[in-house]
Amino acid sequence: MRRQFVKCAAAAAALALAVTACGSSEPAAGGDGGNVTLSVTVWNLAKTPEFKALFDAFEAANPGVKVQPVDILADDYSDKITTMLAGGDKTDVITMKNVIDYSRYSSRGQLTDITDIVKKNDTSKLAGLDSFNVNNTYFAMPYRQDFWLLYYNKGLTDKAGVKFSDGVTWDEYAKYAQQLTQGDGTKKVYGTYHHTWRSVTQAISAAQTGGDQLSGDYTFFTDQYNVALGLQKAGNTLDFGTATAQQADYRTMFETGATAMMPMGTWYISGILEAKEKGESQVDWALAPMPQRPGSTGVTTFGSPTAFAVNKNADDADMAKKFVEFAASKAGAEAITKVGVVPALQTPEITEAYFKLKGMPADELSKKAFTPDKVVLEMPVSEKASDIDTILNEEHQLIMVGDKSPAEGIKSMNDRVKSDVLS
């Protein structure tokens, strides 16, 4: 009896494992003869309009092809794709949400080498392509490039007499923040708002000083921390502790006029356009380049690209390659520009088209802000990036809540990264 039970239990367990392991890859539905279906992984399809815009454009350009999105919850995207690829899933095109995942998948040999189509095309204007270069081989091609710039509330800056010029330094930025801060209590309008992410302070100083966030020596963060803490101490920005405690939403901060300036990524442009279109916000906004270090030439900021790759097990690799190439091309760029997303392909015509969108600011400085001279990758690609990121984030919090001075915080970053990760 007992032995029999064990047998039964084993059978049940095996069955359960088999059931959970095999729930993947639906067959490519042919439907009405000769039609091709191309499957593409995406996140939050309903709230990420660029996907539908691209798919519609691709289908229009390739009659008889139907794009089948595989929709995945944004927060689970990396985990889900990792599992799908590990299980031999046959989805044709895999969207690379970030560069760190790309390096994982490509090093495991799960993506198809598409160096031929990268070389075939003129990629001189394709921003962010370098991030996908693995020993002169490419497994993905970027179609979207986000980078950071300075949003400001024109109504508030005009009232305070602040006029942005080309090439604002961090000191001038702090002075503007002082001039723009007014009121008290719940009615207070802050000069600027630094969101709680570490990149707001750390990635920008790495980009502008040339520092390496994987190096284990973080003295190059010092100046930027002094700027951020100075603003906080003077009450010209919502302090970090309060922002964390009330889980401050940067969109609300800017759209309700609670802050006059805000450094943020370009992805937020489509957010503002949508909020204004729906009448949720009346903010009169414009863009300026990120403030720079004194004496620097040109505009340096940071950002990160998004790309499409072809699955090694793709059902239809040729069509998948065609899609990747299309997304990075002029036609693809035009399609996503229409929904307010910044394409990786940056030509004057595309920028022109972008600024013709309804609700976009029309001034020259905004356009200038849109074409920075140099965009440095937010976090360099490495298998150690994730561990280092955790440490840098923890010490960032301690510095920002005033528990450690920048010097002490940076010292612990150096010590911890060296002893826990690099050793």
């Binding site: 007992r2 359960a16 990792t82 302090d239 502790g241 405690a245 009330q246 919090q397 809540v401 911890r416």
Partner: protein
């Protein structure tokens, strides 16, 4: 049922009961069939995953490649891991605050609400309410209450003349007390119900007799209520201990381990190392250590309780 479960399996004792075999078999089968639905669920979703996790603690696995046997390497790594030490200390800190405070608060509430008051039903429900409130809502509301600049708590303290009130969740020194207060508030209603049930089993005659002998309220509490409540107190203590060591949800929503690492607890570390970093072997090793700690504390509590009951 109890008879069936304690019955020896027939294959274990061959000759003496051989003639009665079919009957015993049938009994055993019936017994199995009763517990089978529950056992299958338990085995599939608890026993097998737990055993697998314990095995994983001795392996290196990123959920992608084949697991690799590494022996005690994960445990060696843990000894040198500062995050683990910080998390262990924070877990103990949390338990040391949460267990006694919740116990005392729940007992006091139960004593107050055990009287014949007008509207006692309402107050009992009110005290139980925090426990059934969504945890995310609790975390958000307490974060607002303890907001260092605009929160009502600090506004009150300032009004009372405190010049430099604590910065609560924005301070590494105060964040753990804040989390403890929040969780005490949330949990005390549940344990109050357990205490109330315990209080109602104490015969009224004891109190009457004590009163006749001239014992005051404190003496009655100390010599009658507390000793009679011991089984309940023990049960509450065991539940509280296990709950405290496993704390994850409230901290995840309220502080996410911050500022810095000041509220990083073991469960949060397990989650981070496993799900976020994909180091399932190391994560399982930490889970195993947490399991052993909880088991040791609980066993110790049982031993102490047994010894006390014996005297």
């Amino acid at each position: 049922m109890a008879h069936v479960m304690t019955q020896q399996a027939p294959t274990a004792d061959p000759s003496p009961s051989a003639p009665r075999r079919p009957r015993v078999w049938r009994d055993t089968l019936i017994g199995w069939s009763f517990i089978l639905p529950n056992f299958i669920g338990f085995a599939l979703f608890t026993l097998i995953p737990m055993s697998a996790a314990f095995a994983l603690a001795f392996m290196e696995w990123d959920s992608y490649s084949t697991p690799e046997w590494v022996g005690l390497e994960n445990f060696q790594k843990m000894v040198g891991d500062e995050n683990f030490r910080v998390a262990l200390f924070n877990t103990l800190y949390y338990a040391a605050g949460h267990i006694p405070l919740t116990l005392v608060a729940a007992l006091c509430l139960a004593l107050v609400l055990n009287r014949k008051l007008r509207g006692v039903g309402f107050f009992r429900t009110a005290a139980f309410f925090p426990y059934i409130t969504s945890l995310v809502a609790v975390a958000v509301v307490f974060n607002m209450l303890f907001n260092p600049t605009a929160g009502p708590v600090n506004q009150l303290l300032t009004a009372l003349g405190v010049a430099d009130p604590p910065r609560w969740v924005a301070s590494t020194d105060w964040v753990m007390p804040t989390v403890i207060v929040t969780s005490v508030w949330r949990d005390m209603g549940y344990y109050m119900v357990l205490f109330l049930a315990g209080l109602q089993t104490i015969p009224r005659e004891y109190y009457e007799a004590a009163k006749v002998d001239g014992a005051n309220a404190w003496q009655r509490f100390w010599s009658i209520t507390l000793p009679c409540l011991r089984p309940t107190t023990f049960f509450v203590l065991v539940l509280l201990t296990i709950q405290s060591f496993k704390i994850l949800d409230l901290i995840q929503v309220m502080t996410d381990g911050g500022p810095g690492r000041s509220t990083l607890v073991l469960s949060l570390l397990i989650y981070r190392e496993g799900i976020r970093e994909g180091q399932f072997g190391y994560s399982s090793a930490i889970a195993l250590v947490l399991f052993v700690i909880v088991l040791a504390v609980t066993v110790a509590q049982f031993r102490i309780n047994e010894r006390r009951s014996a005297t």
